[in-house]
């Protein structure tokens, strides 16, 4: 078991290292010839590389939220406090990734669109997600009893989850926005964008690095989550032992 741990942790380290190097160092040229060169996108040039880091963080914050809600549902059915710990660990990571996504997003926004923040629907959604996480932690810290804390935060997490589809799918489609997939102004009129929600203007090897990055960050997330909830459960048990004397 221990050996297997070392193997996949090393693999993860190598993968992340490769992705970071590839993401940052591989040059962007007009006409890519070698396998380690990326194509140029007008207006973005070097900054396109942020896509390797921005999209995974946004992806992970949503995954973390989804997992937090799933374990909330599990808690409400079985009332097992371990599920609550899992939900909490997922939310902690989700909050971190949400902050990262907002920050990398606003950096990219400055280069691509000229301003750090423009209340584009996607930007508004990530901000709303940040507010949801913040509210969730605030709710938890205001409840003393463990059971009540777990059930109420589980309910809130499910209610918040129900509003998320509105942000992800509905708002961008109906409001003006900068991300691909929102309404655009074409010839002075507001039209539904023809481009899909996620637009891949990347060639083969860029796509490869992108998906590798996605996979690497996801594995990293699951590892941190496992560590997180296990330490929460142990801490709880130790505190109970101490108070019981």
């Amino acid at each position: 078991m221990k050996n297997f741990d070392i193997i996949w942790k090393t693999f993860l380290f190598l993968l992340l290292a490769f992705v970071s190097v590839a993401g940052i160092a591989f040059p962007i040229v007009e006409n890519p010839v070698h396998w380690y060169q990326f194509p140029m996108i007008r207006g973005l040039e070097e900054n396109a590389k942020i896509i390797f880091f921005h999209v995974p963080t946004a992806w992970l914050t949503v995954i973390a939220f989804l997992m937090s809600t799933i374990y909330s549902i599990k808690y409400l059915r079985k009332k097992n406090l371990d599920d609550d710990a899992k939900s909490y660990a997922a939310a902690q990571l989700g909050m971190v990734f949400c902050i990262l996504a907002t920050v990398t997003g606003s950096i990219w926004s400055k280069f691509a669109w000229g301003a750090y923040w423009s209340w584009d629907p996607r930007q508004t959604s990530i901000f709303a997600l940040l507010l949801i996480y913040g509210a969730w932690f605030a709710l938890r810290s205001s409840i003393e009893s463990e059971d009540k804390r777990a059930s109420l935060s589980a309910v809130y997490s499910i209610i918040a989850f129900v509003t998320v589809p509105f942000f992800i799918f509905v708002m961008p489609r109906i409001m003006l926005g900068l991300h691909p997939g929102s309404e655009e102004i074409v010839d002075g009129k507001v039209v539904q964008s023809a481009s899909p929600v996620i637009d891949f203007k990347m060639n083969g090897n860029m796509l490869l690095i992108f998906f590798l990055s996605l996979a690497a960050f996801t594995i990293l997330y699951f590892w941190m989550w496992k560590l997180g909830y296990k330490s929460l459960i142990y801490k709880d048990k130790i505190q109970k032992q101490i108070s019981r004397g």
């Binding site: 009332k79 059971d147 109970k240």
Partner: protein, 210 residues
């Protein structure tokens, strides 16, 4: 044989990771007065709330059966009469208004005769139109009994029934408990010896600690 059966199967309760009690099993199928006793903090109020459906057990289940049909939790509230030190009535309304409201929201007919009899039994008839805000703690305790009995429940649960009551109040309660015990199932949770003297089968909660 009562037409109401109360069953507990391996009921346990934890608060967080702290164990309150476990392994509670019983079946009350005869009319009568049953007791739950134990020192303070042994979980009497908790067990009583679980029986009344106000709290869920951490393990096991409580089953209520009436005329051989199991009662689902949404409908349970009209079969149960509950008195507890934690119970509070609406103080901005009079006793009579409180009772009218309870009848309407329970969707049972407001049986004027029965209510007046109960008010007389508990010596509150003269004060029925006064706001509950003006009642003494003893009067509020007696009001709780009227609240518990007005809809003729099959299961009467009394948690610390004689708290705040003087000698006369206690005697009234004992009289009513005995009367109800003949036709329904009554559960008394208390550590007062005089309360427990009325009870037949009694659950001693300190035995279910481990």
């Amino acid at each position: 044989m009562s037409d109401y059966i109360l069953k507990a199967d391996s009921v346990a309760k934890n608060f967080g990771r702290r164990l309150i009690f476990r392994g509670i099993n019983f079946e009350f199928s005869e009319n009568g007065v049953y007791g739950i006793s134990g020192p303070n903090g042994s979980g009497k109020s908790t067990l009583v709330k679980i029986i009344a459906g106000l709290s869920s057990p951490s393990e096991g289940k409580i089953t209520h059966i009436h005329n051989n049909n199991e009662i689902i939790s949404e409908k349970l509230h009209n079969y149960i009469g509950f008195v507890s030190p934690y119970l509070v009535l609406y103080e901005e309304f009079s006793a009579w208004e409180n009772l009218e409201f309870f009848a309407h929201i329970r969707d049972v007919t407001f049986n004027k005769g029965k209510i007046e009899t109960l008010l007389n039994d508990f010596l509150l008839y003269e004060r029925r139109d006064d706001l509950v805000k003006t009642y003494s703690s003893g009067m509020k305790q007696r009001m709780k009994f009227i609240f518990a009995l007005m809809h003729s429940p099959n299961l009467v649960i009394l948690d610390e029934p004689t708290s705040n009551l003087d000698e006369e109040g206690k005697n009234t309660v004992y009289k009513i408990v005995e009367r109800e015990g003949k036709e329904n199932i009554v559960i008394v949770a208390s550590n007062e010896r005089s309360d427990l003297a009325l009870c037949g089968e009694t659950i001693l909660l300190e035995k279910f600690k481990q």
